[in-house]
Subunit: 363 residues, 2 copies
């Protein structure tokens, strides 16, 4: 394990916000975008945290993303809001969309938003937890660049298409599921490639649609769109029910892109000139549509405790529920600072030097 | 393959309705229950069709289920309906609940129902397709008796907990995902036991929480609640992301049982004296909250066609989308009759003789 660096959450947010402002984002967009990126690291989800700051920097510098872009309202009802993001910053745009959805749900009981032509929005669970803090269930999805191969297929027809869901318990505890609907994401394949390890069976197929363990060829085939790709949750074929993950990935494409009139399926592609212009879905549903929120939260306390205290398998330490690891990591970050790897810290130093933003990390 | 028998759909429905009436159901409940059971066979989902008629017969005769039971409204708003089913017939009760949800959505744009203390309700996709026929998205879930073991656990803490989702395309085509959130259902384990085949890796764990291929011991351990059980979608441990299926199973428990104040988790148990009193969730969301439904259906046509025409893997014939096989089976049933196995036909003959209902199947 490489050395970890700890940094105070608010300092890291201020640094990222300053970087985003240097890159042309208005202060509110910069602040929101920083907060969402840092939230990922605070929860231990490094893959979606400030380690991606350089990507946003490149995107903004090359004009693939832009700050200050106004979204167009395509349809609005008391329960719904359909937006064309016009290529806005996915992070801050998504926070605004979920804020409006929560506002509508406060009045009407529930609300939905489908958004097209957006950009990477970070962790889906950030938005669902916004709803959970308001005694609502939150739901969030996004489609992503195509890299998933349907059951019995050989070409990528959908993205990692994550689904997130949150519901609160008492005392700040909550259940937050935030999962890609593919068996793994591209990042995991890249790790296996770097470490020159064979891919586990059930992760990916080659250009013929046949299971492959060769991470390097797979990444090249995916890059040049020659075919092959990652399996849906449940793996290859029918034995472990891969068609279920495939079906869930399609639900995400439908709720995000078909509802908003955006780009779906194999047409969702990142290129040199433009990002994939991904589509999002947000929903908030008030708990008191069903029961007294206090009663629901008490039952959630019981459900989460039963899972957390379930007897572990031989050789395993404990049973988790969705969001528990992240909840514990966030508490730790509040006490001791957000944990960053040496590699990410070095990236931040470089970005800070280039843009003339003081880095709050000792060299 | 054993011989298949074909029988006209309406005749099979009339037979089942007559059986249900002999067992004490009022005519409307008998008709609805028959229609939902037969719909499963018509779509080729034998596991949930009239092959289960004897179970309902036993349940009704032993007083575990009852006809003519009125549900209690626990909470009602323009967007929501929370019911205590009081042990009513799950099939007909669920059709009524979804009918009311669709009615509310027609007025308000969207609606949700959470139902506690119910019984088996057949195929979840039946209810979501009711919404799809009204230019809405339909969502349906149910919890079931506990048999699924959480990631890193050794005891069953959730059921097969299916999720269904439908959205219409044009010309009666639709996307219908209807999936258990466990990797397989108990029925599949029983088939492996009968055929004395070893279970595939990733399907189940034994009482220690360790992967097992022994179907017979597993079924016994599950029956006597000694521990062990079926894996969530994604299999054992983290390698194929079993925690995702586990998370989805919990979402179902939450939406069905926590929202309605019903029974969840390891407490959902079938016994000699009572059924598991499972809980359901139904939702309908109007397409025109987002765009002109015709435009959404045109995009669904394109999405479904792209998937259906995707290039198959080497050695595979074709790529499906969720609901395509069932759609084709239903068209075939309309032309040539519903297909039943010899075994199920024999069961129906026996039930007909016992209850004095003429069986519309040649001996």
């Amino acid at each position: 394990m490489s050395q970890k660096i700890r940094i105070e959450r608010s300092k890291l947010e201020r640094f990222c916000a300053a970087v985003f402002m240097k890159l042309g984002l208005p202060p509110d967009e910069a602040q929101d975008s920083a907060e969402i990126l840092v939230a990922a690291d605070a929860r231990g989800i490094e893959s979606h945290g400030v380690g991606r700051l350089w990507r946003y920097k490149n995107g903004l510098q090359r004009g693939i993303m832009a700050g200050g872009v106004q979204a167009t309202v395509l349809r609005e009802t008391p329960l719904s809001l359909v937006l064309d993001a016009n290529g806005a910053m996915g992070l801050s745009l998504s926070k605004r969309a979920m804020t409006r959805v929560i506002g509508k749900a406060k009045t009407g009981g529930a609300a939905f938003s489908s958004v097209r032509n957006s950009n990477h929005f970070g962790i889906a669970g950030y938005y669902t937890e916004m709803a959970a803090r308001e005694d609502m269930m939150g739901i969030c999805m996004t489609n992503t660049a195509a890299l998933g191969v349907p059951t019995f297929g050989r070409k990528a027809m959908f993205g990692t298409n994550p689904i997130a869901f949150s519901i609160p318990a008492h005392d700040g505890r909550k259940f937050t599921l935030d999962m890609a609907t593919t068996v793994v994401t591209r990042g995991k394949i890249e790790v296996y490639d770097r470490e020159q390890k064979p891919l586990p069976s059930g992760w990916a197929v080659d250009t013929r649609g046949v299971g492959t363990s060769d991470a390097h060829s797979l990444l090249e085939d995916m890059l040049y769109q020659r075919g092959g790709g990652i399996m849906p949750l449940g793996g290859e074929g029918e034995l472990l029910s891969g068609y279920k993950g495939y079906g869930l990935a399609e639900v995400v494409d439908i709720m995000t892109a078909v509802l908003s009139g955006g780009v779906f399926g194999q047409s969702v592609i990142d290129s040199q000139a433009t990002s994939a212009r991904v589509c999002h879905f947000f929903a908030a549903i008030r708990l008191d549509l069903f029961r007294d929120p206090e009663d629901i939260k008490s039952d959630m306390d019981r459900l989460l405790s039963e899972l957390e205290n379930a007897e572990p398998a031989e050789g395993c330490e404990r049973v988790y529920y969705a969001g528990l690891k992240e909840h514990e990591a966030e508490s730790e970050s509040a006490l001791g600072g957000v944990s960053l790897s040496e590699k990410v810290a070095a990236q931040l130093r470089q970005i800070g030097e280039e843009l003339g933003v003081p880095v709050p990390i000792a060299p």
